[in-house]
């Protein structure tokens, strides 16, 4: 009876990698807040995570790139920039919290495995 580490970590290992990728996209949005003509992007997290799990070999593949969608702004702007800093800040903050949540779950699983290995 071997321990399958990948199954043991569950969905949260993939979620962790995907959260990091989404952090990159949101950081790019925030960085380009003043760039004329820039279109804010984001990914549909649950759909992309389902795709990655369906592929199932732990590889992010194109890292959710094909699932990149454009954000619809609340207000039009004169220079064509669709980044609304409040929206992006909220999304970034929530994403960072979700990253910490996934990290905690992975950590708990690893500690549980360590206890099982030590025979406690």
């Amino acid at each position: 009876m071997g321990i399958n580490f990948k199954d043991a970590a569950g969905v949260h290992a993939d979620a962790l990698a995907l959260r990091a990728e989404r952090t990159r996209i949101l950081a790019a949005n925030i960085a380009n807040e003043n760039t004329p003509g820039f279109q804010a992007q984001d990914m549909d997290f649950s759909a992309t995570l389902a795709n990655v799990q369906a592929v199932g070999n732990g590889d992010l593949g194109d890292g959710g790139d094909s699932a990149l969608m454009y954000r619809v702004p609340y207000h039009p702007t004169r220079d064509g920039n669709t980044v609304e800093i409040g929206v992006e800040q909220a999304a970034f903050s929530q994403n960072a919290t979700d990253f910490a949540t996934s990290l905690t779950f992975v950590n708990m699983r690893l500690k549980g495995l360590a206890k099982a290995i030590n025979g406690q």
């Binding site: 962790l16 990698a17 990091a20 990728e21 952090t23 990159r24 950081a27 790019a28 949005n29 925030i30 960085a31 380009n32 807040e33 003043n34 760039t35 004329p36 820039f38 279109q39 992007q41 194109d62 890292g63 790139d65 990149l68 800093i85 800040q89 970034f92 960072a96 990253f99 910490a100 990290l103 992975v106 950590n107 690893l110 500690k111 360590a114």
Partner: protein, 140 residues
């Protein structure tokens, strides 16, 4: 899970906002620098931002990762002419040219630039926290 890219993005944004603050400071400092001819008078300067087209090694053609300052352009707004015959810089008709710096607009721009800079510093701080917590995985 590459955090190096994200740090570079935030870093580029901080650099771009610094250039923007630089031009604002220059404009405010030279708001009253008169000259006798239009060609010699200081004109307000503004940076032009653009997203860096990213052709990553893994074929990622994502536009808009980092931001760069393409150029610093001078404003085309008309200069202000004032009749000051006593001014040593005045031309033959006694007119001097004042720069086309709108000080209220520059102050608003400065507030926007510093807020954008602080937002990107916050992004950098968050990424650092995320990386540090990753390193603590599995620890007691």
């Amino acid at each position: 899970m590459s955090f190096k890219n994200i740090s570079e993005i935030a870093g580029s944004a901080m650099a771009a906002q610094s250039v923007r603050l630089n031009t604002i400071a220059s404009n405010l400092a030279n708001a009253d620098s008169v000259a006798g001819t239009e060609a010699e008078t200081y004109r307000a300067r503004k940076p032009v931002f653009a997203a860096v087209m990213n052709d990553g090694p893994d074929g990622m053609n994502s536009a808009g990762g980092k931001v760069q300052v393409l150029d610093v352009v001078q404003s085309d707004e008309p200069l202000r002419q004032v009749y000051e015959p006593g001014n040593p810089m005045a031309n033959a008709e006694g007119m001097v040219f004042y720069p086309n710096v709108n000080q209220v607009a520059e102050m608003t721009d400065m507030m926007s630039a510093s807020r954008a800079f602080e937002t990107n510093v916050e992004v950098l701080g968050r990424i650092r926290t995320m990386q540090q917590s990753l390193l603590k995985l599995g620890e007691g």
